[in-house]
């Protein structure tokens, strides 16, 4: 390395120290922004390739925008769709921080939702102030229990959680199908697998129905925001959170520091499962009002993307969840207005994550958006 290079590197480091904002800004704002734009462009190309008219493409993106943030109803839909994604995403993010790759949010959501529904119609005589929290808690508890199976297996036998949580997902689908046909769960007079309805005094109350009865936004959004704060506090302000992060960053070091690895694994999985279970309870108590086969509707898998996109940080997860909620709500509008299948949203979501998770790729695609990594000319 020549003298000049050394000087350049040194001066750049000094500049970075003087203005730390620039790198953070690029990583937190510019990269996601470019990722979304690149994903939308590639989405448009996909539509072109499947012989969708250019005019329709324009209309569909307009509908995407309108359906996500264009009106009060759109914002209500966006928040409604975002809440379970954020809740489950927080759980997965917490798991990632603790070094656990939990793919089982889907199953945990199903178990949490089932518990909340069953609790709701079984104790329908209780007053709202008791029953609603009870249902929410039982949803969280069921999710925590289901996830801690995988945690315990990992801790006791070393079975990898990727495999066990996938298997637990598969099991949960069948378990829900089975439970929905049990005589005391199935809705009377129905032959198809569908549960009894959640009584009104167990529902998460709708917030905006005094404006318009079609607005679905419900109190689950407060639960979600509370969860963001609590997870942030847990991860970054408590000893347990430190232990989660330490054993995720370096299991060896954590063990030498005297942390009980097995206990931490089980606790981290249980907390992650609790959050996913809350997402399930949020769905059945706030949106669906009942349980039917596969009511988790892939939220558990989208939540993986949300957690990755949010870089496993509670605030990041919040924004990633809002983005995915907006895409979801806008996608439905797009399907109605422009006749473009909502499955396009899946493609766009995947592309966004690629570009976020591989910053090198975004920098290669949009070199002008970034300070060139090796130029010490101080353009920042």
């Amino acid at each position: 390395m020549s003298m000049q290079d050394t000087l350049d590197t040194a001066s750049r480091k000094l500049l970075e120290r003087a203005a730390p904002g620039r790198v953070d800004f690029e990583n937190l704002v510019v990269v996601p922004l470019f990722a979304v734009v690149a994903a939308l462009i590639l989405g448009a190309l996909t539509m072109l390739a499947t012989s969708v008219e250019p005019a329709t493409i324009g209309r569909s993106y307009l509908a995407l925008l309108q359906g996500s943030v264009g009106s009060l109803a759109a914002i209500s839909e966006t928040l409604t769709a975002a809440a379970p994604l954020i809740l489950a995403g927080l759980g997965l993010a917490l798991g990632f921080r603790a070094g656990l790759f939990n793919i089982g949010a889907e199953g945990q959501i199903l178990m949490g939702g089932m518990a909340a529904v069953i609790c709701g119609f079984s104790f329908s005589h209780l007053p709202f102030a008791v029953l609603m929290p009870l249902c929410v808690i039982s949803g969280g508890a069921a999710g925590a229990f289901y996830a801690s199976i995988a945690g315990w297996l990992r801790a006791a036998t070393g079975a990898h959680e990727v495999i066990t949580t996938i298997m637990l997902n598969m099991i949960s689908y069948r378990l829900v199908d089975y439970m929905l046909r049990l005589p005391w769960v199935q809705r009377p007079g129905r032959a198809d697998p569908i549960s009894q309805s959640v009584p009104p005094n167990a529902e998460l109350p709708a917030l905006l129905q005094w404006l318009d009865p079609n607005l679905r936004l419900h109190a689950g959004i407060f639960l979600t925001l509370l969860a963001v704060v609590v997870v942030y506090w847990l991860l970054f302000r408590t000893k347990l959170g430190f232990e989660f992060r330490a054993s995720g960053a370096s299991p060896e070091a954590a063990r030498y520091a005297g942390m009980r690895a097995s206990l931490i694994i089980v606790l981290a999985m249980a907390t992650a499962g609790m959050l996913a279970g809350l997402a399930g309870a949020n769905q059945v108590l706030g949106v669906l009002g009942r349980a039917s086969p596969g009511f988790s509707a892939g939220i558990g898998f989208d939540a993986i993307a949300v957690a990755l996109l949010g870089r496993s940080h509670p605030v990041g997860v919040l924004f990633a969840g809002l983005l995915f909620g907006a895409l979801e709500a806008g996608g439905r509008q797009m399907q109605v207005d422009a006749g473009v299948s909502i499955d396009l949203i899946g493609i766009i979501q995947a592309l966004i994550i690629v570009f976020i998770a591989a910053p090198l790729l975004v920098r290669a695609l949009f070199p002008w958006g970034f300070r060139r990594p090796d130029s010490g000319d101080g353009r920042s």
């Binding site: 996909t46 499947t50 969708v52 070094g99 790759f101 297996l153 006791a156 036998t157 070393g158 079975a159 990898h160 990727v162 495999i163 066990t164 996938i166 298997m167 637990l168 997902n169 598969m170 099991i171 069948r174 378990l175 199908d177 089975y178 898998f301 993986i304 993307a305 990755l308 473009v340 299948s341 499955d343 396009l344 949203i345 899946g346 493609i347 766009i348 979501q349 995947a350 592309l351 994550i353 690629v354 998770a357 591989a358 090198l360 790729l361």
Partner: protein, 422 residues
């Protein structure tokens, strides 16, 4: 991130204790299994008849008639014995073997109980086993190729789905063989993309895999609802029929199982044989494994680590693409949204179960295929167990097996880690 825990070090007493504990847990599970067999299957009565030949076979052999209840009790006793032995003085390599034997005995007991007083075509079920195992075996083989060069491939599911989709689309346009070839090519392209993301762009391997899965699911679902819904002729591919090999196909039981199948079964069997030879008996195979175990050392010896990873992950993608075509060209000829239904993940489990070895992966896949076809056939026998629980059985078995086995299975040492050249 790797798909297995760290290599157990025999010198460390901690691991010895863990090994012992695992043996004790497994022993407990086996004893519980024996109790389960007696309690649930203990009410069988009559003989169970297993048909071994079919009406038009050249050589007909008689039915296998078994008195159900006594054999069930023998199976339970054997399982309990194995469990007790393992619990008291377990450890070492007997853990895995005993667990496998115990599960096999439980399956036999279950079959006898379900068939008692009835007749059941064993040959038909075994044939279906092989057919259903193939996508899992091919997916697992693809995963073996990737993980042997230290690339964790969660994207098998997406690659299978891409193969299925391409098979249906191109098969409808240019015929079965063209469809099959295109599926292989598209699988290879996704393998190449995965390699590019994780080798060149050093993206986290699990994230890259998840992303490919999401992308393929989105793209195929989008096209199938946007295009196939209106133009059905694009989703109507010819199906490869079963071909009976002369003479071999007439052997009772084994003939229909192995030698009266379609191109996918023959292809998978050949590929497993070839890749075993390649990975363990050729110079390039040795180099590939070196890249998976110790990339720095391999690099020092002049092996191009990046090129080796690109090559093998792409090859793995091609195998997965071939396996994916099974879903459309090998069975129904029509693509449905998300038709792979998680089999790519089961393939991943099969790879671990099969200890990162092609033959092991095939055998593990056969276990999954067996439970899959068992569940299908048993629906006909009308057992009192709800069908949902039968459908769960393979997944529960996977959990038990992975939990009981993982300590002994060892992943390639560098699995999941990116390699940064100096």
């Amino acid at each position: 991130m790797t798909l297995a825990v760290d290599r157990p070090d025999p010198a460390a007493p901690v691991v010895d204790k863990a090994e012992k504990r695992r043996a004790q847990i497994t022993g407990g599970v086996l004893v519980a299994l024996a109790a389960f067999i007696v309690l649930v299957f203990g009410d069988a009565s009559g003989d169970a008849t297993f048909r071994l030949s079919r009406a038009r076979d050249v050589w007909v052999i008689g039915d296998l008639v078994v008195p159900a209840l006594p054999v069930i009790y023998v199976a339970a006793a054997l399982t309990a014995f194995l469990g007790a032995l393992l619990f008291l003085r377990g450890g070492g390599r007997w853990t895995t073997l005993s667990l496998g034997a115990g599960l096999a005995l439980a399956v036999i007991a279950f079959l006898l109980w379900a068939t008692a007083g009835n007749a059941f075509s064993l040959t038909g079920m075994l044939q279906a086993t092989v057919v259903r195992a193939m996508p899992i075996a091919l997916g697992a083989l693809a995963a073996v190729f990737c993980e042997r060069v230290a690339v964790v491939n969660i994207a098998i599911e997406g690659m299978l789905l891409a193969g299925a989709f391409t098979g249906a689309l191109m098969g409808s346009l240019i015929g079965g063989w063209g469809g099959l070839l295109s599926a292989v090519v598209v699988g290879g392209i996704f393998g190449f993309i995965l390699a590019a993301l994780v080798v060149t762009y050093r993206m986290d391997q699990i994230i890259a895999g998840v992303v490919i899965n999401l992308f393929v699911l989105g793209l195929t679902s989008y096209v199938s609802s946007q295009v196939f819904a209106e133009m059905r002729h694009l989703n109507n591919a010819p199906v490869f029929r079963a071909v009976k090999l002369p003479l071999l196909g007439d052997i009772p039981v084994i003939g229909p199982m192995l030698f009266h199948q379609n191109i996918f079964v023959y292809g998978a069997l050949v590929m497993v044989a070839v890749s075993t030879y390649y990975l363990f008996h050729t110079r390039s195979g040795l180099r590939a494994r070196a890249v998976g175990e110790h990339p720095r050392a391999a690099d020092t010896l002049g092996i191009d680590v990046y090129w080796t990873r690109y090559l093998h992950v792409t090859l793995g993608g091609m195998i997965a693409g071939f396996g994916g075509a099974w879903f459309t060209l090998g069975s129904v000829g029509r693509f449905d949204e998300n038709m792979t239904g998680g089999r790519g993940f089961i393939a991943l489990a099969a790879m671990i179960f099969g200890r990162w070895h092609p033959v092991g992966a095939l055998l593990a896949a056969l276990v999954f295929g067996f439970s899959d076809s068992l569940q299908q056939k048993l629906a006909l026998l009308q057992t009192p167990i709800p069908s949902e629980f039968l459908a769960m059985a393979p997944y529960v078995a996977t959990i038990i097996v992975v939990a009981g086995l993982i300590g002994r299975a060892r992943a390639p040492a560098a699995d999941g880690k990116p390699y940064i050249k100096d």
